[in-house]
Symmetry: C2
Subunit: 371 residues, 2 copies
């Protein structure tokens, strides 16, 4: 069912999107402020995928870059719409709606910024079902919709249109180079597709899920209930129904460097009691969680680092020595775990040697969905 999003929804959406960012995706808070400013007292139509006409023309919009740069370098706010207009002009067709390419992090917000500026609706779906670091890591691509042509806009009004045919890795490679030279952040429109292709290739209803997650955490805090239980309850009816309690402890070391346009590194967490440390490796997003030598969760399942009390999700660029955290592993929908999907954004796509291990088959107990 389609629904209306107002500025009052933005803080909850930002919180939920940070959780789905699994440490990356860029901080959605800045994006939410930009949306709020443009939206004012208005509202944006969020289109359920089932309400899209088969021949509707959807152009997803997003920000690309290293999260470590994104929090330092604010967009002017007009870049994503410029990217959309550039792609429309290149294709000779106007968009009927925009959509996120990832539902985690700042990219949950960018399509709403475009929608607030243009009056277009936003489709309640995305192509990652979380956040991933590379443009090619899309369910769209797994199921045959490719990113080219891509339009990229910079803060000084620069536009770049890239077409690499079916080669989405080459598209990522070239667009990343341009983004680095734009100072580390660019805004893009890509994966233009029909309404029928959205239903066939996108992860559905991830915007409403992010909003529900953020709201559940806030309401639980207000009602002095466990926000972790609230997260499990909010996810129970979705394709992300298994929430594993991976670890609780204190951050004792963070290695982080920004290289080749990515934030790469790892965080070490010492347990509250005895036992081995948890080590999480990341490339913008959290990729692996090992307790000693034991793999607990791995990409594309979600590995989420949260404040141990408030359940506020913590992005990789905000990890600090001494933070007390709880780490959750969250299962992903079936369309994100097919052989094609795992080849595109599973362990092998990140050069990891570990096999994919569904988090529900790991050693961790589930978080209960009721108090």
């Amino acid at each position: 069912m389609s629904w209306q999003l107002t500025a009052a929804d933005l803080p909850d959406l930002a919180r939920g999107a940070t959780l789905l960012g699994t440490g990356g995706g860029g901080d959605p808070y800045i994006g939410s402020k930009l949306v709020e400013q443009v939206l004012g007292t208005g509202s944006i139509t969020v289109l359920d995928p089932s309400d899209l006409a088969d021949d509707a023309f959807v152009i997803p919009t997003a920000q690309m870059g290293a999260p470590t740069v994104m929090i330092e370098k604010l967009p002017a706010g007009t870049e994503p719409t410029l990217a959309l207009r550039t792609l429309e002009s290149h294709l000779g067709r106007q968009a009927d709606a925009t959509m996120p390419i990832e539902c985690g992090g700042v990219n949950s917000m960018i399509p709403f910024l475009v929608a607030a500026e243009t009056g277009l609706p936003v489709v309640d779906a995305d192509g990652m079902g979380r956040a991933f670091p590379e443009l090619s890591m899309e369910t769209f691509a797994v199921y045959g919709v490719h990113g080219s042509p891509l339009a990229l806009a910079g803060e000084r009004g620069e536009t770049v249109v890239i077409d690499t045919g079916d080669d989405d890795k080459q598209l990522e490679w070239l667009a990343r180079a341009v983004t680095i030279r734009l100072g580390g952040v660019g805004h893009i429109a890509e994966y233009a597709m029909s309404g029928a292709d959205v239903r066939r290739t996108a992860v559905p209803r991830t915007i409403s899920m992010a909003l529900a997650l953020g709201r559940a955490i806030r309401v639980a805090r207000e009602q002095k209930r466990s926000p972790f239980t609230a997260i499990a309850a909010a996810l129970a009816p979705t394709g992300y129904s298994h929430v594993a309690d991976l670890f609780e402890g204190k951050i004792v070391d963070v290695e982080r460097r920004t290289t080749e346009g990515f934030a790469r590194g790892r965080v070490r967490i010492a347990p509250t009691g005895d036992g081995p440390d948890l080590v999480i490796g990341f490339q913008n997003e959290n990729l692996t969680a090992h307790r000693g030598d034991e793999l607990l969760a791995i990409v594309p399942d979600l590995i989420c680092v949260l404040d141990h009390e408030s359940a506020e999700p913590i992005t990789t660029e905000r990890l600090r020595y001494g933070q007390r955290v709880r780490v959750l592993g969250i299962s992903t929908p079936d369309l994100m775990r097919t052989p094609g999907a795992l080849a595109t954004f599973g362990p092998v796509a990140f050069g990891l040697t570990e096999e994919f291990l569904p988090v529900e088959k790991g050693a961790s107990a589930p978080v209960p969905a009721t108090d």
Copy 2:
């Protein structure tokens, strides 16, 4: 006057273009072979700028990249025409002619490759009057025609269209990044302009000058006359009329590295007799010639390293220890020495601290134009 170029002209054109490449511009030999292959027994119309209609639409074509990579990585041959077609499609207008953006090195040949493939004429003019390492270093830009939009094509059929408005340095910055990620070489179409703008902003008749230079050197060799005198004679009636005899000696050291998409370095030449060494600094092209502490010639004037007997021009990537060479300095036309021109491609544009010194005001004697 317009004229016809045939495959028989290519070796002379390549030789002359290598001289005008002033050490850079990429080796035109490989380009000439590609043109020869496509042209066969046909011919290409070389349009004198005075024969262009005011409203004719001219799209220059070129190769960009580091010469050190260009000689290792052969183009498929279809990329420059793909770049032209991509820009035509973006602008919604078909070209009436193509043109070089630089008359030195491989970029003397690329427009002929496009012409041989498409049947378009080539305008006898260019935007550098020699070779320069960066796309923004164009008389076109100095006199108000900008490079955007630029279309870039890669060997796997990738296309990129970049628009940075009037900011040609940003255009160079972004296009260079894409070129590096394409493996070090890309093919481009840019600086689309009218026939009237060609007459106003281009350095005229540099293709016919390159051909005349190459032919003069060959004929002098065949007739056992001095090819150096022949060079001076060929240039005497052009805007490049002063040929200074900078140095003669043996190469004793070459430093060369390929960084950020450029070949940078310097070459040291010991004199045949006594006296200080000559040191030439280069960024793709030769930029400065110092004898000891004394500046003899500096960009944008031409600094050309030639074999001491045959006068075969030697590009920076082919400089070797032990080569016996003669170094010429060649004056450039007035439109390449205006304050705007010097700001765009004079010493300051390369971060050099030396003031521009017209080579005819330097300490070197002229090469005589008659035996």
